[in-house]
Point group: C2
């Protein structure tokens, strides 16, 4: 029999493509095998189990997303960089809905695999370095990073889930929220008496 030339990466890619087409939760071993013209049992030589495959898709997506963000923000600063960062993030979520939901699902990822993948780490670094333009000191910087990530993550999750009633286009709110975020980062509140560090 002719061989299909499978590798863990090819299996992951097939899974990612499938996720974008039919939704991340319809990514199954059998479906990926069918797409590759292979029996499902053959996949287990390259991928440990379904959860492993899903974790790999999530890491792939994290890598791709952080690359896009890096390209978009290169050479920009201040609000320009913030908007480019945010739009690259959102654009990735729109272009690859299945992969993006993979990054949203709380899943146990093989630690060794995660250590090897640059995506998640790189994403955090990019965020920190972009926000450094706003001259925040720790721990405010970390708080700001978390707020920003939360806001983007949440917005795109709600948008994908149809959480925004159709009254006002999500796009418009997105733009205005970025304005607000920019202002917020420029005037991040000093912390007051009795606040935790």
């Amino acid at each position: 029999m002719a061989r299909a030339g499978l590798t863990a990466d090819r299996v992951t890619l097939a899974g990612a493509e499938l996720a974008d087409e039919v939704g991340f939760d319809h990514v199954t071993m059998s479906a990926v095998a069918r797409r590759l013209g292979v029996k499902d049992a053959s996949l287990y030589a390259h991928v440990r189990h379904l959860a492993d495959l899903r974790g790999r898709i999530a890491l792939l997506a994290a890598d791709e997303k952080s690359i896009r963000i890096a390209e978009a923000t290169a050479g920009r600063a201040g609000k320009d960089a913030l908007v480019a960062y945010a739009n690259a993030w959102r654009q990735y979520a729109h272009d690859h809905p299945g992969r993006y939901t993979a990054t949203q699902i709380p899943t146990e990822i093989d630690p060794e695999l995660l250590a090897r993948a640059p995506g998640p780490r790189r994403a955090v670094e990019l965020t920190y370095s972009m926000l450094r333009a706003y001259a925040l000191d720790e721990p405010a910087l970390t708080d700001a990073v978390r707020l920003m990530r939360s806001m983007f993550h949440g917005f795109l999750g709600l948008e994908a889930a149809g959480g925004f009633a159709h009254a006002r286009p999500a796009e418009d709110s997105w733009v205005r929220c970025l304005d607000a975020l920019h202002d917020l980062l420029e005037h991040w509140p000093a912390y007051h008496e009795g606040d935790p560090t």
Copy 2:
């Protein structure tokens, strides 16, 4: 045989309890049936299919969450109300992790069922009425509501997924993010030339 006295609500509740114990994605027809001391086929008299059950759990959670928020914010105003609102939300996510993730999963919910459930609608109303204290006009009010929901939704999602490295306690960032959000709402940026409405 003695009857178990099942109803759609009892099945949903059993599913919700199970979700909190073993995680939402381990909620299965068979597992719920076992918990109720019943054969899995019996559930189909009350619930259409697994996706239906999951949708019902999500709606139950939305109801419970909005009730908690309503109680927490009753009689409060301004930043007091904002903090109470946010903490009630977060507390619910911590108390019922399985049910809460149900609300985060983008799932197709039976429209008729959704129309009957007060939770989601009520949650939006609560948010609007609480934010009215900040004297925002439409469409800024809607944008602010969306930003706030995105931020909370995203923060709790990331927190549950272990998205915050252990460097700084999530709790501390949460408090500071609420401060920041409050300031932001008090000084929501006016929109500038060329911005969308």
